[in-house]
Symmetry: C2
Subunit: 375 residues, 2 copies
């Protein structure tokens, strides 16, 4: 055990995260020196206040022994496994010092997955604890699709949508990460002990709190920022108008991540928060492919949804005439199409709108072209 | 009966609308002279072709007698009742001639409502014929809310969502308009004869086709443009991936009207078209108030949705501290709030994000202010 490692362990316990003051100090003088100064109280007045209550409690050695016994580890910013979480884009924070302060100091984890690898291709699937059968069904479906495309599923281990997401990932032999609001050795909720144990064995438990720390109300909100940060996109499957999932979505937006929400019946209060998010700009998603497209590698685009039959079948004869008038390559103006099809320009517009709806034609600076070449 | 009126009646039958060529001719020389020239074939080659088949059929007198007998009327652009439909913004049409050509020449109507008054405060409520119980329920609810706020309901008289919308409006003693794809004396679908009869008695039947004209496939698409044009917003309640309702939505967008769609279960194919519309930019609506806000008079804003209880109840103690730190009037920076609340800036951000979600605080150029004054 190095002094450096003990210093990090000490620092994760001495303040309530996130602390931009401590982050700045560590960045300035390194973890060992920072720990030493905090221990002595030789820090700024603000940091002294924030660390006053715990600076004399040093159970870093015990914490590290405990995580070792559990088969876990402490990941520090210089670890190979440290995820490249960009906290610099945090909205409303205009100074790097504050922004960097939003990153976790270090992470306590248990599980065989490497945090950086998981975070490079992950979606956060979150939602209300008061989920409906519909929401759990949708969460299960989305997660199955994500696992199939090797996207890791990050969530908060809670009842409802979180639990459904983790369970579906385990069932698919996919990768799943539960970010906890307390120590990784403190199962919460207690009724999810077995689920969390399964995640620990084949997935990953992550926390910025040292072992033994109990989850507290404010820690869930702070934890939500890590759920959002460890994923390329956050999808809210079901949420009431005042749901913790909406808080995770706010963190995701603040961190520059894509926020998605699944629609549901407007008659279901469990979908009301999702609809509000979409009205506020969140992306509406209905299928896992749409999520894969966001978090996945470049070029991994969602397939077009299967349409009932050929799009051409739905066209009127006039529509087919307009379709035929479009060139196999290149663009054509409405005037040119009018001549080609023998239809007046005004009559043409509705047909072109219909072709556009059917995904057959697209407008390009006032000119029209086929979406796919004729086969 | 004036010659002018006979000329308009003749013109609505002689071409298949919309005809920008005929519209331009009427704008140039007036309806009577335009009718005379069309009758003689003394028009442009294109218009001659378009009118060739019907120019010698003159049943204008009979058409007008027929609409009189039915208690209806022919509305012409110089009628007091003529709606001020803006067709000039039609997307992709860059010349006024073509844009104007998208307007109906004249309208055949039956019913006691004035078209211009109805159109000044109307929403089009449309959707798939293959509707579900959910969609019909939502349509009924939306329409009840619209009627309560004196918004007229425009639709296409079809099975499914259209029918549910008309029925709900009649049940609420609201105003409803069915725009038909054939003559106003040709009930279609036949099984909606009784419904259309009720609309005719207490609402309005509208068509750009003269009496006796039978609906044809291409006329439904052309008709959809009038459904969209006669309303300030079009809401699609349910639609499959290839639905006529999506065509109405395309017309609405092209006409510069607001396009709205109601979400539903992602497991329902009857909502798939709505979800696609929302992904493409349509506004997600869940309540009639949101539609009233769009089509209604300025200042008629939707109430905030009822939240389970006071937003303050959901705050943690730290959250309440941050809330209390916000000034009753004016803005405060994160640094100022940090001092006021005694919380480090980094810890503050999550709390501010939560306050923003709860609708209590809002960010304004990097500073924060209360949304409502403290009571």
């Amino acid at each position: 055990m190095t002094d450096e490692r003990r210093a990090w362990a000490y620092l994760t316990r001495v303040v309530e995260p996130p602390s931009d003051q401590l982050a700045a100090l560590v960045a300035d003088v390194g973890a060992a020196e920072a720990a030493e100064r905090v221990r002595k109280g030789a820090v700024s007045a603000e940091l002294a206040r924030a660390t006053e209550a715990r600076r004399e409690i040093d159970c870093a050695a015990e914490d590290l022994e405990r995580i070792d016994r559990l088969g876990g580890r402490l990941i520090m910013p210089d670890s190979d496994e440290w995820p490249t979480i960009e906290f610099t884009s945090f909205a409303g924070v205009d100074r790097r010092r504050h922004a960097a302060g939003m990153a976790p100091l270090a992470l306590w984890v248990i599980g065989d997955l490497a945090v950086n690898e998981v975070a490079s291709r992950a979606a956060a699937v979150v939602g209300t604890r008061a989920s409906t059968t519909y929401g759990e069904h949708v969460a299960t479906d989305l997660v199955a699709g994500l696992c199939e495309r090797d996207v890791a599923v990050v969530s908060g281990g809670a009842f409802g949508i979180d639990g459904a997401a983790h369970r579906a990932a385990l069932a698919e032999d996919g990768r799943t990460v539960a970010v906890l609001a307390g120590g990784v050795d403190v199962p919460y909720p207690v009724d999810h002990s077995a689920l969390l144990h399964r995640i620990r064995r084949s997935g990953l438990l992550v926390s910025e709190y040292p072992p033994g720390i109990r989850p507290a109300r404010h820690r869930f909100l702070v934890r939500n920022r890590l759920v959002a940060a460890l994923a390329g996109a956050t999808v809210v499957v079901e949420a009431g108008l005042r749901s913790g999932a909406a808080n995770t979505a706010a963190w995701a937006r603040a961190l520059g991540r894509v926020v998605c929400a699944v629609p549901g019946p407007v008659t279901s209060s469990a979908s009301a928060g999702c609809h509000e998010l979409i009205r506020a700009g969140a992306e509406l998603v209905t299928r896992s492919e749409q999520l894969v497209e966001i978090v996945g590698r470049v070029g991994e685009l969602a397939d077009e949804p299967e349409r009932p039959s050929s799009a051409l079948d739905g066209l009127t004869d006039v529509g087919k005439r307009v379709y035929e008038a479009l060139p196999a390559r290149g663009v054509r103006s409405a005037d040119e199409l009018s001549i080609e099809s023998g239809l007046p320009v005004a009559a043409l517009q509705g047909q072109l709108a219909l072709l556009e709806l059917a995904g057959l034609a697209v407008q390009d600076e006032g000119r029209w072209r086929l979406v796919k070449s004729k086969s």
